[in-house]
Amino acid sequence: MNQAEKIKQMIREAELYRSQGLINEALETYRSLEDLIRNNSRIKNRDSMLSKITSRINLLSKSSETLNSPGDPPELSERAQSLIKEMFSFDDPGVMGSAAMGGAISLAEFGQYKKAKQEFEALFDYDDLRLEAAGKILEYGLRHVPHEELRGIYGQWLSDSRFSENEIEKLGEMLRELLGPAGVEESPAVYTDDQPQEHATEIDDDDILDISAVSFQLPSGPRQGEKVELEVNFQSGRRLNLIVPKQGRDTFNSLETGAKIHGVVFYSSVAIFSGMVSVSSKKEITAGPKQGDFSMDLEILRIESQ
């Protein structure tokens, strides 16, 4: 085979691989072709061929990168999620709700964490399944959500009356194991040995320090799980008033009046502590220098560590 035929054959091969979706193979063939042409100065139209091949290589390299690092699986349609639940769930006839557990596990295994979490949460009403379902939320969450969000999820369970103290303790232990010691230290909501659950206290207005800012994860809305930090505008005992700038409309909309927010971190000049608040009122400011911003009142319901 002469040089020209060899080049033609290599181009045909590379194009066939590309058309078959064999991107890496196409790329490798084009690279060999590039070497062949570069090392042979007698080839006609050498420069124009090289430039075409280089642009082909660049295109294929991009596709190859995407292919080799696919990231998280995409969120499927509701129909596809139901099919996965149906097709891959298993059922233990001896255990009430176990089919639902199997379905939720299948969804989680297929990377549909958000939907799986909802399904696991629906099992919290079953005494036999609650601990396992919550454990699965943590276990699969480790693969799909940031540590901070996992700690926030656990923080919410602390004030969920369906969980017994024993269950909370076991889940805390599990979270510590999953996140490792460093992960727990960052967490105000996770109990450690020197920070036992009994530290959670009821609120007395006089005990509350002056709070300058609060931070928490948005419990709902399109930015659910995202951490926000807001400055305290005014404080009266356990009641805090916050101003949310107009750019934070999403944050404002995510917090419904009456919503309880767990795992809130309170910053004061002398200490940082955590607890639970409820949104007592919220409104848009319609007059004055802060017109267009939002005002929100929070009430501290519980302090978990101080």
Binding site: Q9, R12, E13, L16, Y17, Q20, G21, L22, E25, E28, L67, N68, P70, P73, P74, L76, A80, L83, I84, M87, F88, S106, E109, F110
Partner: protein
């Protein structure tokens, strides 16, 4: 695991198309869907694809009618072939009754074929199944490229690479034009139903 209802005389079994990425598993199912309309029970479902690359799985339900007094239903699945979707492959393989291993005849895919067969072996093992015992059929796909100047492996070489120890039925095929697709499936079904008969003694007469 097949659902065998001896009272209703019904069997539902699961056949999984396995193989490296881009070897033609989905094309096999598409051809079956298009050609065996009478036997196909519903729509072919492709659960999410990236372009024409399977990310999750394809599913095709079939009813092949009565065999030895039993109504036979078959669920055909494909797995995503790319290496990184290992856990998805394991999920789809769960409860499998028969496997079609689709190998790519292109020379450049030789290693990928072997890698994928090893992956199948390991995944079956992790489920307590033995690749030497499970109903398995080998398909050497893309033989249509023999008519072009593309570097293909001879079938004999593929047999040596993939089937020397397994010694399972193997078929050259071209899934794009359907050649060998039906034969492969029929053979896999035969093996699967025989295997299920040994276990459940479902066949009459």
């Amino acid at each position: 695991m097949a659902v065998v209802n001896l009272n209703k005389r019904e069997i539902e079994c699961k056949i999984v198309y396995y193989g490296p990425g881009r070897c033609g598993k989905t094309t096999n199912l598409e051809y079956i869907h298009k050609t065996y309309k009478k036997q196909v029970n519903g729509e072919m479902l492709s659960i999410d694809t990236d372009g024409d690359r399977t990310l999750f799985f394809d599913f095709l339900p079939m009813g092949i009618g009565q065999i030895k007094g039993c109504d036979i239903k078959v669920q055909l699945y494909t797995v995503p072939g790319q290496v990184q979707y290992r856990s998805t492959r394991r999920l789809v393989l769960k409860g499998v009754d028969g496997v079609v291993f689709v190998a790519d005849s292109l020379k450049v895919r030789r290693e990928k074929n072997m890698e994928s067969l090893r992956d199948l072996h390991e995944n079956l093992k992790s489920m307590g199944l033995n690749i030497l015992r499970i109903p398995l059929v080998m398909q050497y796909n893309k033989r249509d490229l023999e008519n072009t100047a593309m570097p293909l492996m001879p079938v004999e070489q593929m047999e040596r690479d993939l089937n020397r120890q397994l010694k399972v039925p193997s078929f050259p095929a071209s899934a794009v034009d359907g050649q060998g697709v039906g034969t492969t499936l029929t053979q896999c079904l035969k093996l699967t139903l025989k295997h299920l008969h040994r276990e459940f003694k479902w066949a009459q007469g």
